[in-house]
């Protein structure tokens, strides 16, 4: 197997060739890009290049984060700067080939910005507000490198942290560096990653597992999938570092079935890492071995909960387990296991390569490093942004996101996924800080921020969130299963202007029971959206309850019939197969 130096030399020479020999055309084709038409753009570029006999490299890359500008076509002419074009549908793509690639003439319209030395008539991409305020660590390669190409990752400093760890650091040094960085888990609970890793060290093995959680069922969050689609090698390197630090032997990347982009790109990256000796036996000729594979789950939000996740990996119903024993003692297949989120693990390479201070000096209080934010909803520039912790919600929404479009006022922010909370416009000075957000009754969670304008009804929005939580309750514990059902019934009553006296108190009492008695975070946090909505938008609720009207009229529309009862196993007779989960019933 090649040594690191050999790999790096090969990567550098390939990179030199890539940027200097012929035009290099990159198209952002992560899920957000695809939804904006990136595949059609790619096809148009390809056929135009062929038709005109132009020899160029064409790569489908990941997400640059500027989703509002997609599809983005990014062109590097040999010896020139990178010029990026926005909203480049097939027609624009053909125009770009004809004038820019063929003749070096910048076409009118669609120019987003340049990277590198200045290009006349184009703004500096890094000076745009969406980029300027970012601090990209885990996303530093996103949109820049072809995700399935380990050489491109290597050329940009990839795998240097793993090499450093394997050659000059003891496993305990790696753990200490992660502790010193202050890194806390980005999957929701914000627990110290280094300390979590140290639990696994003490457990016996082999085998011991590093499980990477890319379930990401939170509506409004696409950053984990974004990393896998944009730079899967960074995650693989992070998992290897976790494996080395903890003495684990196997890594499993857990992804929701159906998200083909992230799955395919991760599988391809794994295959390539094996081919290059970056995974498998005797990694980088150091004698250390580590295996990684992908495991798919079906659709179930709770399968993202760490103990349910282990059952899903084992192929069972994804239902949370009782703790103790904790995963570090008895985890997947009964073996010691460490579970981390994609973002958490993707920070590890930078922390090891650049030192813990490079991470700990960013941020505020006990929230170090960056937050990877998925900004969506009523916002001018929706996208995937990596910003320093400590930035205020207002800066994220207004400076980066460009504020609410159409001259409307901001009414609410929904943060941290469906179990998070609703915040009002007065919350814009809250900082991205795990603890400050929690105190405000919201959570940073997975990093989703959904913005809603003044024409949004808080009851309607809450109803959608509660419908989600009911739909996704796994059914194992009674407080969550029945509680979510009751909460949804009541909120639907309120939305239909049929609330009964005492409904608000009833919700509180059901919700507080769930908080105290549910087995996992789903039930424990399931009342959060309602509580925060009541706190910040009492007026909307009062209007539905007392005046029997909706401030925006959105509650006049009948709600979708979405109810899930995940049935317990029943006697199976083909003729009388019960209604499957997911069928609209009740």
């Amino acid at each position: 197997m090649p040594t690191y130096q050999e790999l790096k030399a090969e990567a550098d020479s390939r990179w030199m060739a890539l940027v200097s020999e012929k035009p290099w055309i990159r198209v952002g084709a992560a899920m957000c890009g695809q939804a904006a038409g990136a595949l059609e753009t790619l096809a148009a570029l390809k056929s135009r290049l062929t038709a005109r006999g132009i020899d160029a490299n064409l790569d489908a890359v990941g997400c640059l984060g500027l989703c509002f500008a997609e599809p983005i076509v990014d062109i590097l002419l040999p010896g020139g700067s990178r010029l990026l074009f926005s909203n480049a549908g097939p027609d624009a793509a053909r125009r770009i080939i004809d004038s820019y690639v063929a003749e070096g003439r910048i076409p009118d319209g669609n120019v987003l910005g340049y990277l590198g030395s200045p290009v006349d008539g184009a703004p500096d991409l890094t000076s745009l507000p969406g980029m300027r305020l970012q601090k990209r660590i885990a996303l530093r390669n996103a949109g820049h490198v072809a995700p399935g190409d380990a050489y491109q990752y290597l050329a940009n400093g990839g795998y240097s942290a793993l090499r450093r760890a394997l050659s000059v650091m003891k496993p305990a040094d790696v753990i200490q560096a992660v502790i010193d960085s202050g890194l806390r888990g980005r999957g929701g609970a914000a627990f110290s990653t280094g300390i979590k890793w140290s639990f696994l060290v003490r457990s016996p093995g082999p085998p011991k597992y590093i499980l990477c959680n890319c379930e990401e069922g939170d509506p409004g969050a696409f950053n984990d999938k974004g990393i896998l689609e944009s730079d899967p090698h960074m995650l693989l390197e992070g998992m290897s570092l976790a494996g080395y630090a903890t003495g684990a032997t196997n890594g499993i990347v857990f992804i929701r079935h159906g998200h083909d982009g992230p799955i395919d790109r991760t599988e391809k990256a794994i295959e390539q890492a094996y081919d290059l000796g970056l995974l498998g036996d005797d990694i980088l000729n150091t004698g250390w071995s580590f295996d990684v594979e992908v495991s798919l789950t079906g659709e179930s939000y709770v399968s993202g909960e760490e103990t349910a996740l282990m059952d899903a990996v084992e192929g069972k119903r994804a239902m949370p387990r009782f703790r103790p024993p904790f995963p570090a003692q008895v985890g997947v297949w009964g073996k010691p296991t460490n579970i981390n989120n994609v973002k958490t693990l993707s920070y590890a390479p930078s922390i090891i390569a650049d030192g813990s201070e490079s991470f700990s000096e960013i941020g505020v209080n006990k929230s170090t490093g960056t937050a990877i934010i998925c900004l969506s909803g009523h916002i001018r520039r929706p996208g995937l942004y990596e910003v320093p912790m400590g930035m205020t919600l207002g800066e994220v929404v207004n400076d980066i996101g460009g504020g609410v479009p159409g001259g409307k006022k901001l009414k609410m922010l929904q943060t941290g996924g469906p179990l998070g909370g609703l915040l009002g416009a007065e919350s814009l000075n809250i900082r991205l800080d795990f603890d400050e957000m929690r105190q405000a009754g919201a959570i940073l969670g997975s990093g989703g921020i959904i913005v809603a304008d003044e024409d949004t009804c808080a009851v309607d929005m809450t109803r959608v969130l509660v419908a989600f939580c009911q739909y996704e309750s796994c059914g194992k514990c009674f407080p969550c299963r029945m509680g979510m059902e009751h909460l949804l019934e009541i909120i639907e009553r309120i939305a239909r202007f049929e609330s009964r006296p005492g409904d608000a108190e009833l919700m509180r009492s059901v919700g507080e029971t769930m908080e105290g008695a549910s087995l996992c975070g789903h039930g424990q946090l399931g009342f959060g959206p309602i509580r925060s909505a009541f706190q910040h938008f009492e007026e909307d609720f009062r209007m539905h309850i007392d005046e029997r009207r909706c401030p925006t009229g959105s509650c006049l529309r009948p709600a979708l019939e979405i109810r899930n009862t995940r049935p317990y196993a029943v006697d199976f007779t083909p003729a009388a197969m019960p209604e499957p989960a997911g069928a609209a019933n009740v």
């Binding site: 695809q34 509506p219 409004g220 798919l296 079906g298 969506s376 909803g377 196993a569």
Partner: protein, 165 residues
């Protein structure tokens, strides 16, 4: 107690297809769930035979396998329509007009909820989030994501696929 699973004799080739999907899919099928996913990818649904075969392969009960199959909401148990359309009702898409979009598609397909059109052309499914929240509202047609839709353009996108079929 529970029934024991048996390998049933082949009913018109479906057993073979199920076995084939489990044994030679592109991913390892070491667990009940991964086997069911492999069959579902191949056939678009889980026939009774898939439940039986999986139980036989893993030397477990039909109940156990059915328990897994009925838990994950992506599984269906009857053959799907020629095209599968998934519409997102997640909060971002909701804010961006998913309810009107869903209405318009349902109106066009003469459906009142999830389900299959009478002619078997389309299976309509709700999805909690298709992962492209920055381009709402979003739907997917045969796994191809389409975003930035309106009620009208969504209906047109679906009917284009139907006409092309």
């Amino acid at each position: 107690m529970v029934e024991t699973a048996q390998l049933s004799s082949d009913a018109g080739g479906i057993n073979d297809r199920v076995r084939e999907a489990i044994s030679s899919g592109k991913r390892p099928t070491r667990t009940i769930l991964s086997s069911l996913l492999a069959v579902h990818d191949e056939l678009g649904y889980l026939p009774d035979e898939a439940i039986r075969e999986t139980a036989a392969i893993f030397d477990t009960t039909i109940n156990e396998v059915w328990g897994v199959a009925s838990f994950y909401t992506n599984f269906r148990f009857t053959p799907p329509g020629r095209h599968v359309v998934e519409v997102c009702w997640g909060p971002t898409c909701h804010l961006a007009g998913a309810p009107a979009l869903i209405d318009s598609i349902q109106h066009m397909l003469r459906l009142s909820g999830e389900g299959d059109t009478e002619d078997g052309g389309v299976s309509l499914k709700y999805n909690t989030c298709l992962g492209a929240c920055a381009q709402p509202p979003v739907l997917s047609i045969d796994h191809h994501l389409v975003g930035r839709l309106t009620a009208d353009s969504a209906a047109r996108a679906v009917s284009r696929v139907l006409d092309g079929a």
